[in-house]
């Protein structure tokens, strides 16, 4: 209790008093408090786009990572309440990841800068916007051409404006993305003479081989990759593409693969070249590939085995399988496997794809994706800064004081720059080190465009609401400053506002296509942009290709240190969003903390346990973090997620965890930052920290929760039971004879009960099907559920007590990984199963948990008295109890503006759980009734199903024979979790199909 009250800004007594006498009823407070004097404040003029009570949706583009997915921003009463995927957008086709959805918590983040600020002594003080513009203009005037800009903005109108602005000043622009793909681009240049990052077609591939590329997490365009991967693995075609992951640590991509190979870090290039060599020898390669034989000839299977430490059989098997699949796809270039030889590895994989005939089919050039200027350009700027050649530095959409390793000289060079300005929305490390803070508007509050860097895509970004804080968009700041500076600059940037500039540029685009500018703009605004067909460029091998061999990892430590990008925090920008902090890491199920992954064997040798705090020391620094024992990592490697360990960046991020970058040297590795580049020493500190992990028991213990079926048997249409029999695995009868008797009796009683009262009428019967062949565990559904259903985050302390409120959670179970057993993992989304024979219902003393007429397991919050009997009786553990008034803690202003008005914000002492998005069901029923029509299939979808990039979730009316969900549920792969307890869930899972003949 004391723990809880200290977190409360208002104590309970004062809270009661305030409640009684004022109308300060926050949205978080339910109850029939009729004693409040509330005011009804009308609009002055009706906004034609807004009808109170009806959502208005705007198309926009996501900027949370450079992928450029299309958004549908749902607004209610003129405030954004949910981000959804734009179904028309070719990259994400209606789905959206967890990071994208958490953009809302950037918009409403309590840590947002409310006004411009200037350095004042050791801190910053508020200034007015015209003062800020004057100040920046004055500094630029004195600086002359000694100006530089670091920008993380992707290609688009803003980027071109910024470039011409900087050029006009005579300064330098460095486009910098912390998680860029320079090695891949540089390899494309050296192998194909094509200076771009290719686009990959995962859906067409029959075999997906990744050399360290975390294509389901952060690599390139994660949602597009995942959509393709799910299509290749979803068994629609009756086949399933095999997937192999090669890297020192099995990340989410690794645990989704059928096989994880962990060669010696730095030696992957040898495997890729060895495979290419073998394919070339088999004569399947295009004719001009013959020139490669000189490069490839040394990489025999024996050499590859020696370099990588893999067995010759494993290598040969991989070659055989890869060669047999057409088309196949090999990818490389992930941050987590970015060592000094990363360009060689990417070049080797390009060669492998070329030899296998994949270039042009699954690996496509021509879209012109460039990424940033690379770490090399930043390092060059750093040298200029250190030499005192830069007087004014502007940082836009980047946080280099966090994302550049501290061991280098960046901070020292930064301090030599006379005047630094930051446009960050938040008080991040870079803002803290700046002299002038000119916070940009959030992308949901301003005009812009973004197309993920692809030539054929241009997505519009439009303001969907009034800004939360009255700041000025950086585009307008550039124009205003130019006007202040006068002269030629003012003439060149005479356009009145950035919005006009954007529209002018789109008018040019329209005219280039022979379209009417106004109509073109209007249509683009409605659709979210202009999406042309992807151009294709035919590429040929460049001459004189040289590819280096395996790389050594430096350092004097015992183990290799592998920092990897977290699928939640990305480059660290996600660390101030509670939705991402509390959404468990898909692999480790860790929340709110940093951790160090150690192989069980190594942990035994060191005699360390989960949570034991160790100190990692490299030649450049040392950090402390608790141990997480993980079977999916090489014994000679330790791994740590990037993105935490902020020294600023708001209350949620500041001081949380450790920054893995502190162990890296900032040395430029030929144009990129080598993340996998150092060995570390590990020593015990004697400290201990309980891990905030949400996985309970990480092993299934034979409970049959996740099921899989070999492709050869699934292709014959066998059910799980038949497959077990076929494999001779002796699937035992689920229920005994006496149990079956009871079950039959119960069924009869249930049928009887359905004849009475409201239940007798015809109703829909809501059901769900989740395809485990498609699900990757990415956890986009989890954040979608939080956003849709006003689920509060509980924070680290309460996660440690097992009190997280995730109505939808992803369960991840490990197999093997110890005592020489091969490591595997399986994944299953778990939510309320809406059992027909629900164990939670009969134990509720107040009928708060009951069965609705339309087959839902209802939970009536205002009835619930909090006995928690239902949660105790739930076999799936999907009921969550409000131990405290979490909503008060989770939605501080202005985060409360995000709350969905269609869903009750639950009070303390109430049980809650997945409702199958009942507000959406009721909403669809209302709409159908107003239109005098029956409910149709597709009218209702749940937030999780809508967000899912894999399309793994189907939802609908099981009583409608034409519904897609009914067809999906009839799939022979269907099963129910814990079927033997006869609770009759409404959620059917489809067993995961694994390639080959063995499950």
């Amino acid at each position: 209790m004391s723990d809880h009250t200290t977190r409360d800004p208002i104590d309970r007594r004062r809270f009661l008093t305030v409640m009684g006498v004022s109308s300060a009823g926050a949205a978080a407070l339910g109850g029939c408090s009729t004693g409040k004097v509330e005011k009804l404040i009308p609009y002055l003029v009706q906004d034609p786009d807004q009808v109170p009570g009806l959502p208005t949706t705007y198309a926009s583009t996501c900027t949370e990572c450079p992928a450029g997915c299309g958004l549908h921003v749902v607004t209610r009463e003129a405030r954004a309440i949910k981000l959804e995927g734009n179904p028309e957008h070719p990259i994400n086709a209606g789905s959206i990841c967890a990071r994208g959805q958490a953009g809302l918590q950037g918009l409403y983040n309590p840590g947002r800068l409310k006004f411009p600020m200037a350095r004042h002594g050791s801190g910053h003080r508020e200034i007015l916007w015209n003062e800020a513009i004057d100040r920046l203009a004055a500094e630029l005037r004195t600086a002359g051409n000694r100006v530089a800009v670091i920008s993380g903005a992707g290609p688009g109108t803003f980027d071109t404006l910024l470039e011409s602005w900087v050029t006009a000043l005579g300064g330098r622009l460095v486009r910098y993305q912390a998680l860029d793909h320079e090695p891949l681009r540089l390899a494309s240049r050296s192998v194909f003479g094509q200076d771009e990052i290719p686009v990959h077609d995962f859906a067409a591939a029959q075999f997906v081989l990744s050399f360290g590329a975390d294509f389901l997490e952060t690599w390139h365009t994660p949602i597009e990759n995942q959509r393709g991967f799910a299509a290749a693995r979803g068994f629609e075609r009756g086949t399933v593409a095999k997937s192999v992951y090669v890297g020192p640590r099995a990340n989410l991509t690794g645990i989704n693969a059928d096989q994880w190979l962990a060669p010696t870090p730095g030696s992957e290039v040898s495997l890729a070249l060895g495979m290419a060599n073998a394919l070339l020898a088999r004569g399947r390669a295009p004719v001009d590939a013959g020139a490669l034989s000189v490069v490839l000839a040394p990489y025999t299977v024996a050499k590859v085995a020696e370099d990588t430490g893999l067995s010759a059989e494993a290598i040969t098997k991989l070659i055989d399988e890869f060669a047999a699949a057409a088309p196949s796809l090999a990818v490389a270039g992930g941050i987590g496997a970015q060592h000094r030889g990363a360009i060689d590895l990417c070049a080797a994989v390009h060669v492998l794809n070329y030899v296998a005939g994949n270039v042009g089919t699954t690996v496509k050039f021509g879209a012109g994706v460039k990424g940033g200027d690379g770490y090399g350009a930043l390092a060059a700027l750093e040298r200029s800064m250190a030499a005192g050649e830069i007087d004014v530095l502007l940082v836009h959409e980047a946080n280099p004081l966090f994302t550049v390793p501290r061991a280098g000289g960046f901070k020292a060079a930064w301090d030599r720059v006379r005047f630094k300005a930051s446009t960050s929305l938040f008080f991040d490390e870079t803002a803290a080190g700046s002299d002038l803070l000119i916070p940009n508007l959030h992308p949901l509050e301003r005009w812009d465009d973004a197309g993920g860097g692809r030539n054929h895509l241009a997505g519009l970004i439009q303001p969907v609401m009034e800004p939360v804080y009255r700041n000025v968009a950086t585009g307008d700041v550039l124009l205003q400053v130019a006007r202040k500076l006068g002269g030629l600059l003012a003439q060149q940037f005479a356009v009145p506002s950035y919005q006009v500039h954007l529209q002018n540029r789109w008018a040019e685009l329209a005219r280039a296509r022979g379209a009417d500018p106004a109509a073109f703009w209007r249509e683009a605004l409605q659709r979210g942009g202009v999406f042309g067909p992807a151009p294709a460029a035919t590429v040929r091998l460049a001459g004189n290709i040289t590819i280096g061999g395996p790389t050594q990892i430096d350092g004097d430590g015992e183990v290799v240190f592998a920092p990897y990008p977290s699928s939640m925090y990305y480059d660290g920008r996600g660390a101030n969003r509670p939705w991402l902090l509390e959404n468990p890491d898909p692999v480790t199920k860790m929340t709110w903390q940093s951790w160090v992954e150690v192989n069980p064997e190594t942990a035994k040798r060191w005699d360390v346990r989960d949570g034991e705090i160790v100190r990692l020391t490299s030649t450049t620094g040392s950090i402390e973090a608790p141990i997480f024992i993980y079977g999916g990592i090489r014994p000679d490697v330790v791994a740590m997620p990037l993105g935490l360990g902020h020294s600023e960046y708001g209350e949620y991020a500041k001081g949380r965890g450790a920054n893995a970058l502190d162990l890296l040297s900032a040395q430029d590795g030929q144009g990129f930052l080598p993340y996998l580049s150092t060995k570390v020493r590990v020593e015990k500190t004697g400290g201990f920290k309980k891990l905030a992990r949400t996985d309970g028991n990480p092993r299934e213990l034979g409970r049959g929760i996740t099921e899989s079926i070999p492709a050869s048997l699934a292709a014959r249409g066998l059910t799980l039971k038949q497959a077990y029999e076929e494999l001779g695995k002796g699937h035992h009868e689920i229920n005994t004879e006496r149990e079956l008797e009871a079950i039959t009796g119960f069924r009869e009683a249930q049928v009887e009960a359905r004849k009475f009262g409201d239940y007798a009428a015809e109703h829909p019967m809501w059901g769900m099907v989740i395809d485990l062949s498609r699900c990757t565990g990415c956890s986009a559904c989890v954040t979608a559920c939080y956003a849709e259903n006003n689920i509060p985050f509980v924070g680290e302390a309460d996660v440690l007590r097992g009190r997280e409120m995730s109505w939808m959670r992803i369960e991840r179970y490990f197999e093997g990984g110890e005592d020489g057993e091969p490591f595997k993992a399986s994944i299953i989304p778990m939510l309320c199963q809406h059992c027909d024979n629900a164990p939670c219902e009969p134990v509720c003393p107040v009928y708060a948990a009951y069965h609705t007429t339309d087959g839902l397991n209802g939970q009536v919050y205002n009835r619930c008295v909090g006995t928690r009997y239902c949660a105790n009786n739930c076999p799936y553990k999907v009921r969550y109890y409000n131990w405290y008034a979490y909503a008060k803690l989770a939605f501080p202003e202005p985060l409360n503006l995000q709350l969905n008005p269609e869903v009750t914000v639950r009070a303390r002492g109430v049980m809650e759980k997945c409702t199958f998005c009942i507000q959406r069901i009721r909403g669809a029923q209302h709409r159908a009734r107003l239109e005098d029509r029956p409910l149709r299939d597709g009218d209702v979808t749940t937030a999780c199903a809508q967000a899912c990039p894999s399309g793994a979730i189907a939802f609908g009316n099981m009583n409608d024979p034409a519904a897609k969900v009914v067809q999906a549920a009839q799939n022979p792969r269907g099963y129910h979790v814990l079927e033997e307890i006869n609770v009759r869930p409404a959620v059917t899972y489809l067993a995961r199909v694994v390639p080959g003949a063995e499950a």
């Binding site: 339910g30 109850g31 004693g35 409040k36 005011k39 002055l44 009808v51 609705t852 205002n862 009942i918």
Partner: protein, 198 residues
Amino acid sequence: MRKLLVAGVAVTALVAVVALAPPRSTSAQQPAPPAPPDSVVAPRLTVADSAALKGPKQPIFFRHDIHSGQFKMQCQYCHYSVGVTSEPGIPTMQTCMGCHLAIGGSDSSHRAEIKKLRDAWREKRPVQWVRIHTLAKHAHFPHMRHVKAMGPNACGTCHGDVARMPQVFKVNNINNMGFCISCHVERNVNRDCTACHY
């Protein structure tokens, strides 16, 4: 400390009692089903009379009995979204001014009230009406479904005969679930808990 807590609760309770207790006469005077509006002629009242009338005093002595009763304006003319969403829609200032640009009032007391509206409009300062019906936040009331089922003149079923109210007051306690349920039982329509509670 304990004393403080009790005091706090007492304040809450007192306010709750005052607010919850309906004026005794309300239920007795429960209006009969609305008479044909033709017969309605709004009484002559001035703002000084508003204190004696039931219901909270509003910033402008807005006369539902004149608008809805005497002039037979449709409820939906002002409460524009009631037929399409759960929110009835509070008329925008522009809606008011649509008529009151021209209509200035027939006597001095009316003119004084309309002047308040015009001043507010000129100053771009919305009128802060005192809310009379507030549904508890754990219940959802789809206005549009009820208008659809019972027709556009059914508002009085819950809100009383507003056309005869010089000052609107609460006729029914909409937060009394029995009030909802009795009607749903009578008409044999959905009584599922999750029809409203979710």
